[in-house]
């Protein structure tokens, strides 16, 4: 992070126009030289020579200034250039950060999962049989394992992102994938009185994508949606065919929506509206990268006070043998 901040700082310094910048001083150097040479010549050879030297100095000044003046980037162009560089730097920083953290997290996760499995095994012993609490304990242990697996998926996706792994493309049943992910967030959503509504188009063709990566994208967007609502509301997941060759997954929430000034930045790495410690600002940035890699698009639409809709558009690659 520190490296990145220093880099950003020096970039700003370079682009700012100081009154003593090279471009401003440079055109005057030949003028001073010509005048210095012409002054003794003017004294010796008369006013005509001096005028000629002044004219030459004037022309060279204008020419050099003209040559040094580059077209100023328009407001959008300049922003894009700077953003592009920032994005590249940020992605590199995230890569290192994510790989280091994710790798380390997998080891404690493995221990937690194993301990839970060992407790499950112990609870199956005869002397625990028939005890009322054992059922509840088993349920809690199942939940621990489920949450570990959920975290594992996140760490593995972070590593994939860091390593820019090429997606493993296979046939994916999108509706089934959505049902799985909805089940994962449903329990927590229920506690907050949030309904997960599924409006899934029947008979959707399988698409060719990276299933685990797509699950990660969906989980992230669903979690964001329930977080945005906080309490009482609904998250609606819709699937549909858009045209001949695109499948759309839309996730809409009844939350407060995204402020217009935040909307262009929601996919930026490290951008978050969550309080410190509650979000890394990496989730949607990673999702955006994954969807792009799969040849699709991730977009967002929102009006303040009316919730937000994230749309994942994915190409429908026809199965072999079909045109």
């Amino acid at each position: 992070m520190a490296v990145f901040l220093r880099w950003e700082d020096s970039c700003k310094k370079m682009t700012s126009q100081s009154p003593f910048s090279v471009n401003r001083v440079y055109p005057y150097i030949p003028v001073v030289l010509i005048l210095a040479a012409a002054a003794p010549l003017g004294l010796k050879c008369g006013a005509l020579w001096a005028l000629g030297a002044l004219a030459l100095a004037g022309v060279s000044l204008l020419t050099i200034r003209g040559l040094l003046r580059r077209p100023e980037p328009g407001p959008s162009q300049g922003w894009l250039l700077e953003e592009g560089l920032l994005q590249a730097q940020k992605l590199a920083a995230i890569g290192q950060l994510a790989a280091g953290a994710a790798h380390e997290i997998n080891n404690p996760l493995a221990i937690i999962r194993q301990e839970a499995q060992w407790m499950q095994a112990l609870l199956q012993m005869d002397h625990f049989h028939g005890l009322e609490e054992v059922k509840e304990l088993q349920d809690s242990l199942r939940e621990i394992i489920q949450q570990v697996d959920r975290t594992k998926e996140i760490t593995h996706n972070l590593l994939d992102f860091a390593r820019k792994r090429k997606p493993v493309i296979q046939a994916v049943a999108v509706n089934k994938l959505i049902e799985d992910m909805a089940r994962l967030v449903e329990k927590e959503a229920q506690q907050k009185k949030i309904r997960i509504v599924q409006q899934l188009a029947p008979d959707l063709p399988r698409i060719y994508a990276d299933g685990p990566q797509l699950r990660q994208v969906l989980l992230n967007i669903l979690n964001n949606a329930t977080y945005a609502i906080r309490k009482d509301g609904a998250v609606t997941v819709t699937t549909r065919l858009a045209g001949k060759d695109t499948l759309e997954i839309m996730v809409s929430d009844t939350g407060p929506g995204i402020a217009p000034e935040d909307l262009p930045r929601v996919f930026d790495p490290f951008f978050t509206t969550k309080p410190p410690g509650q979000g890394t600002g990496l989730g949607l940035s990673i999702c955006h990268g994954i969807v792009e890699k799969l040849g699709g698009r991730l977009t967002v639409a929102s009006q303040a006070g009316q919730g937000a809709t994230f749309t994942i558009s994915l190409p429908l690659k026809p199965e072999e043998g079909k045109s």
Partner: protein
Amino acid sequence: MTPKIMLVDDEERFRTTLSKLLRAQGLEVTALGSGREALEELHHQAYDVMVLDVRMPDMDGIATLTEIKKIAPQIEVIILTGHASLDAAVEIMRLGGYDYLLKPCPVEDLLAKIESAYERKTTREGK
């Protein structure tokens, strides 16, 4: 015959609990904390299947696998890794590893791999 398993992982808690889980399934398990200990042990005792962690200080799983294949090529090695890309998987297979598993994984998955690794070893030796 009970398959003899060697488990190598530098995380003590990981290997003790995994040993208990595997023993509960009727396997004979020896747990060790480093690649060097594993190599030393192989000079004294024969094993059927080895479960080997990739990330270990001193001598990592890949280096250990390379050495093991020199002194005990008959042992089947399953690599446990925090994360494996396709390239890493290819490398493990190239070095003679039987298979790999991503941490954390269900014990059932590991058991299934151990069983098929043991099966392969016995079929090969039976021939």
